[in-house]
Structure formats: structure tokens, C-alpha cells
């Protein structure tokens, strides 16, 4: 299992965000994408997910361009964007169920509930997501990520809106997933506690002062 980019370039509007980007992640690795606001982290993740179209180069899954891998790749991949994809009018359980259905999977309530409870949502299983706080909605999205069974997680700032406990939980999930042979590609502006996880750092855009410290920081602790 391997995700790699080959001479990848990205253009937004009339700005070239990056070009000639080559990077490779294998099972058991976490690719940490870094860079300041507006550098193109989100744009890069969208290219990886297949939502965006590269200006040049291509993204390969097990050596095959993701455009040709198509369904195989989408089956193996789950993407969590800035926006959660959680519908305000559905309950957490319904949200997760619908998400699974959209992936072509069928999961029963009995499977969903323990996961939601694990994410700390026990008290609001049957409330519409509208009354949940931002962080809680994020957890609903993470729950359906867990249930998707995807090997590759692409996470765009999964920690935003989470409180200290939530961050620790997500770190736990990440560690578990990577150490169990999964792959993660993610961005975050916060620092991570990921002991025992093999981290591949990637800097997007020009390197800036404050940010240089982070990768080493993580790597040291990691």
C-alpha cells in the first residue's frame, strides 16, 4: 500500500502554489503537511483525495494513477475536510448511517452506537446535530471515518474545534490507525503528541520562521 505524488503542481486562481512536488507514504506512516495560512495545504490534500485536478503531474495509489484506480482508491480512502459533512437536521446516528450508505456500506445502529459513545457523544445520540457544538460535530465526522474502514485517512485540520480531551482522543485514534498498518495524511497548526508513530514531514510553500520548529519538535517527541 503506497500513496505517492509525481512532479505534482497546483495552481489556484492565477497563483502557482507549488510544483514538482514528490512525496511518498507507505502503510504505517503519517504524512504531516505543514505551511502557513494560504500556502496550499488544503489544495494539496484535495489533489490527493481526487477532488482537485492537478495542474501537472499525478497522484498514484500503489503505483497506479488515482484517476485510473478510481473506485479501488475511493474505497480505500476517507477524506475529512474543513467542513464536516454533518447534516444539522439529522441525529448523529443517522448522520453516520447515511455516510456509510453513501460509501455503499450497510451498518446497523448496533455497530454505530458504540463508536459514537467512544467519541464521547453518548448523551446526544438522538438529538439533531444542530444543537451540538462545533467540536461535537467534528466527532460525529470522525466516527464515520472510523466506521468507513478506509486504510488511508486524509485529514484537513482534524483538531480544530476540539478541546484538550478531544485532541488526546484523536491522537489516540491516529496512533492506533497508523500502528495497525493504516496510513494518514494530515495537516494541523497545533503540535501533536504521537509517540511511536513514523512521521513523514512535508513543508508546502516557502519555509517560514515560526513553522520550521514544528517538524523537528514533533519528530523529537515522535
Amino acid at each position: 500500500m503506497q500513496l505517492s505524488t509525481h512532479d505534482l503542481a497546483c495552481q489556484r486562481g492565477d497563483r502557482r502554489l507549488f510544483s514538482g512536488l514528490e512525496v511518498c507514504v507507505r502503510a504505517g506512516q503519517l504524512l504531516l503537511v505543514q505551511g502557513g495560512n494560504g500556502r496550499g495545504k488544503t489544495s494539496f490534500l484535495r489533489l490527493l483525495s481526487g477532488l482537485g485536478e492537478p495542474e501537472a503531474g499525478e497522484v498514484r495509489w500503489n503505483g497506479v494513477s488515482i484517476a485510473s484506480a478510481g473506485e479501488d482508491y475511493q474505497q480505500a480512502m476517507a477524506y475529512l475536510a474543513h467542513a464536516n459533512g454533518v447534516k444539522d437536521d439529522l441525529t448523529p446516528v443517522e448522520n453516520v448511517q447515511v455516510q456509510a450508505g453513501l460509501r455503499g456500506q450497510r451498518v446497523s445502529c448496533a455497530e454505530i452506537e458504540p463508536v459514537l459513545v467512544r467519541m464521547g457523544l453518548a448523551a446526544c445520540l438522538d438529538l439533531p446535530a444542530r444543537v451540538l457544538s462545533f467540536g461535537q460535530r467534528r466527532r460525529v465526522a470522525l466516527a464515520s471515518l472510523l466506521l468507513s474502514g478506509a486504510a488511508l485517512w486524509i485529514l484537513d485540520e482534524p483538531l480544530t474545534g476540539l478541546d484538550v480531551r478531544g485532541v488526546a482522543e484523536v491522537e489516540g485514534l491516529l496512533r492506533e490507525h497508523v500502528q495497525g498498518g493504516g496510513m494518514v495524511v494530515m495537516t494541523t497548526h497545533q503540535s501533536l503528541q504521537l509517540q511511536g508513530v513514523e512521521i513523514v514531514p512535508l513543508q508546502i510553500g516557502p519555509v517560514m520562521l515560526g513553522q520550521m520548529s514544528l517538524p523537528t519538535d514533533v519528530a523529537e517527541r515522535g
Partner: protein, 57 residues
């Protein structure tokens, strides 16, 4: 007495469809409203209980 028989009563002098259509629709509307009201009331209290449980956490 206005009516000779029950059948007479239901026929309404040939205007049964219209008369019973009116009264029936009214009965239906009132019944529906009362039913929805009762259901909404119970659902509302249940929702409030859930919210309370959730906010208590």
C-alpha cells in the same frame, strides 16, 4: 322530524357528497389538529428531557 330514514339522512336530498364532504373535512381537520397537537406535545417534552440530560453533562 326532518328525516324519514337513515338512508334519507345520508343522502341529504341528493347533496350528500357536498354536505358530508364539508362536515367530513371539518371533522378530519379538527381530528388531525388535535392528533398533531398531542403528538407534538409529547415529542416536545421528550425533546426537552433529552436536552436537559445532555446539558446536565
Amino acid at each position: 322530524m326532518v328525516w324519514q330514514s337513515a338512508a334519507d339522512f345520508w343522502a341529504m336530498g341528493g347533496y350528500g357528497l357536498y354536505v358530508w364532504g364539508s362536515f367530513g373535512a371539518t371533522a378530519l381537520g379538527v381530528a388531525l389538529e388535535v392528533w398533531l397537537l398531542g403528538r407534538g406535545q409529547r415529542a416536545g417534552i421528550k425533546q426537552l428531557q433529552r436536552m436537559q440530560r445532555w446539558e446536565a453533562e
